[in-house]
């Protein structure tokens, strides 16, 4: 019965004209297959060449600006008055703002992200990891406008009213353990050369005490000066940097974790076999081996922060200025993305004006930077893969 059935379906299959081994396979079929493949190729090409389209059309609208006004003013002048007649388009302050929040976001996202990735891939038990990963994905999925809303409506007033207290508490909470650890390690390192155990113990105690007092003095000094800060507006570079950092975290974590996983068991087991603690295995073996991948992760995170629009538009204060002093993160700043988003509404009515084209020039700069970062990140990932394969 089954045999019979199998035979019929086999004959059916042979008779079926779609099959390459069937009687119907012919030149015509081959041509059709080639055409089909060609169509698929062109769809794939269309989908992917969109990026060339983007380059072309952004550049097409950006070039008239550079032709009309040159490059100098755009990159070097601080005078951004696009609505004056004639307009002034010095975007230096805006480039500076973008750089500032991006660096700030990187300072938040990269250390935390890599630490979290290490924890996820090497420290946590597998089960907890399975639970934690979806939460990180959720963090990545929250729309940027929701982050922006949080930054503007919740975080900015909080920062404005009790920012100094928050910063002080954060400083004490974060810096105290770090300093304690530093004191312990340094006092140890300073006394390792002494062979007499008793003397070493006494000296170590003295070193710990001295260093501890010094560390406490630094802690208290910084803490007090943070306490004395008065924050004029909560919509500032610090606010935006923290939120952008949180937004970039999931990217950094997931790419870093991939590259840590790629390092493989052999290196780790080899290190453990030599008697290293887990921290030493990770710090001295795994992290250097994953270095390129971690670098790529950081770059992708930075790219995400640089290209983000809504958070900076809503919560950065949008003041085209270089803070005084330049590292003052408590002043409002303005970024490229926010400028494009904010000014296109007015500029679009005068399509073809300098004011319209200058925004495309900014878009082109963003695009170029992201393109370069992306290529670099890809190259670093590929390099890690090559090295781990031992080529």
């Amino acid at each position: 019965m089954t045999d019979n059935h199998a035979t019929t379906s086999a004959t059916d299959a042979v008779a079926s004209p779609d099959l390459i081994l069937g009687a119907g396979a012919s030149l015509r079929k081959n041509v059709a297959a080639k055409i089909g493949q060609g169509t698929l190729f062109s769809v794939a090409a269309l989908a992917t060449l969109a990026v060339l389209f983007i380059f072309f059309f952004i550049a097409r609208d950006a070039l008239p600006y550079f032709q009309a006004r040159g490059v100098r003013e755009f990159f070097l002048s601080r005078q951004w008055y696009p609505s004056r007649d004639p307009g002034q388009f010095g975007a230096l302050t805006i480039f500076f703002g973008s750089a500032m929040v991006t660096v700030g976001a990187a300072l938040v996202a990269v250390p935390l992200g890599i630490a979290a990735a290490v924890c996820l891939s090497d420290v946590m038990p597998f089960r907890i990891r399975q639970i934690a990963k979806p939460f990180i994905e959720v963090l990545a999925a929250i729309p940027s406008v929701a982050y922006g809303f949080f930054a503007l409506v919740v975080f900015a007033p909080l920062l404005q009213e009790s920012g100094n207290r928050i910063l002080t508490i954060a400083w004490w909470a974060l810096a105290t353990p770090v300093f304690m650890l530093l004191v312990a390690v340094m006092s140890d390192v300073m006394t390792t050369t002494i062979t007499n155990r008793k003397a070493a113990g006494v000296l170590r105690g003295i070193a710990t005490l001295g260093l501890g007092i010094g560390a406490f003095w630094v802690l208290r000094h910084v803490g007090l000066s943070l306490q004395a800060l008065s924050i004029v507006t909560g919509a500032n570079a610090l606010n935006v940097s923290i939120i952008l950092g949180i937004m970039a975290l999931p990217t950094v974590v997931s790419v870093s974790e991939d590259s840590l996983q790629a390092v493989g068991r052999e290196l780790r087991e080899g290190s453990y076999a030599l008697g290293a603690t887990r921290a030493e295995v990770l710090w001295k073996t795994v992290l250097p081996a994953a270095g390129s991948g971690l670098f790529a992760a950081s770059m992708l995170g930075i790219m995400r922060a640089l290209g983000e629009t809504m958070v900076v538009w809503m919560a950065s204060g949008n003041a085209a200025q270089i803070p005084t002093p330049w590292y003052n993160v408590l002043m409002p700043i303005r970024t490229l993305t926010a400028t494009i988003a904010g000014e296109m509404g007015e500029a679009d009515h005068v399509t073809g004006s300098d004011r319209y084209h200058v925004l495309f020039a900014m878009g082109l700069c963003l695009l170029m930077f992201c393109f370069a970062t992306n290529l670099a990140a890809e190259w670093f990932v590929a390099r890690q893969r090559r090295r781990l394969r031992g080529e």
Binding site: D18, G36, T48, S144, A146, A184, A279, M344
Partner: protein
Amino acid sequence: MRLSTRKLLDRAFSTTGFFAIALMLGALGIILVPMFKRGAGAYVFRGTIEHRKVEMQLFERGDLEALREDMALAEAARQPVYDCLLEFRHHQKERLDQAIDAVERLGERDDGLGRRIRRSVQRLREMQDLEQQINLLIRLEEVTRRQNDPALADDLDLIADVISDLEDQTTLYGEMVRHLRELFGPLPGDDRQIMPRDRFGQTRWDRTQVKLQQLLFVESWDHSDRSRMGESVSEPRKQRYLDTPLYPVFDEIETNIEAMMRPRFTFYWRFLTDVSHDANIFGGIGPAALGTLYLTLGAILFAVPLGILAAIYFTEYAKPGRIVSLLRTCVSTLAGVPSIVFGLFGLAFFIHTIRVSPSKSVLAGSLTLGLLILPTIIRASEEAILAVPQAYKEAAMSLGAGRWRTVLTVILPAAMPGILTGTVISMGRAAGETAPIIFTAAVSIGMGLRPWEVFDNPTPALSWNIYNLATEHEAVDEIRHVQYGMVTTLVGIVLLLNVFAISMRARISKKLRG
């Protein structure tokens, strides 16, 4: 280094990692929990009688009879307040009459001034508006005082007294009436208003409380200490009304506000579907939610077929080579293009170059968003296709199926759950993106579109309206609940899509593991 220090460092290292993860989850909690808590308040809240009036008058919903009864009760509770207002008016009239009598006495003389004063008295009695009457009194008092006649001094002082009294009281009265209108809507005897915000009082109990506080207390800023920022000081407003008939109003309102507003537990699920009235002060977020739906579906319709075809090409047909690696680089670059640049491209290409629509439209926005999610879909589909066991393919091939047939009948069905997962995640991304639709699709205020209007009409969308309401609205603080409701709706949709996708993926991986 000693072993103990090494162990310490080891612990510190692990702790740092845990700390980072805890911080991340903490951030998630800090951002989401209060947002959802306050956002839920847009749907579930204590709605006052005014909310029910809004529902009846703007949306024609609810039980008219019950509402009438309700309104009658509320009006009865408010009546003492209105009575106080009337009495205050009456009091002012009496005071004014004293002044007019004094003016009449001034006019008992036979020169030109006397005639002029008598004419003015006539006019004073005819006038209805208190402010005009006061102005006329002021002028009369000035003219008469210039006579420097000692006999007139007493009456003139009386008039001056009344004037300053009335002026003070008018400000007080105006202040009170303004606050009462905000609370209760139009007062008896007011003209019919056009703007919905002038036609209704506070619709929510929490807002009522805020407005009540504003009525009961005057908030001012104390700048006496120059070295610090000004501190807010609040003092009871009723002290200013000590000797006026309006004094009891404060206690009356404070004790009876519940009876006046009749708050009731309200589940306003129609917030999601209702149109908004008067720039989102009343009603819901229907048009924006619908706009987000259109934009997301449009993007998916555009991106999914293209993305799947491209993924099939990459996984099944492409032979490694220079062109394919160029194409792959393009895909990853496309994934890294900032979203605002997509917006610029959509404006320059879809609207200004190929003119899919004369100006902003849902179509242009969908195409832009589609381009944005294309790389995600290509990658997800590729992964899903590659995850199909090689044996399936070999089995199909060995039965004599051609490559295309294998793809259609064996690989795609097996990969479909994975592709769907990627699609759902990209839907979440498309729904939440704002920057690409600013120049291509979004407007702040608009009606919900019908499906055939999407080709050449712009639409409100949740993501854009959140920005708009939170930054550019004229009464940002008054409509926080709407903003939170919108954010919660958007985040809720995106999270639901993601949770769905994540759980689906977990099931697939379980299945693949056997």
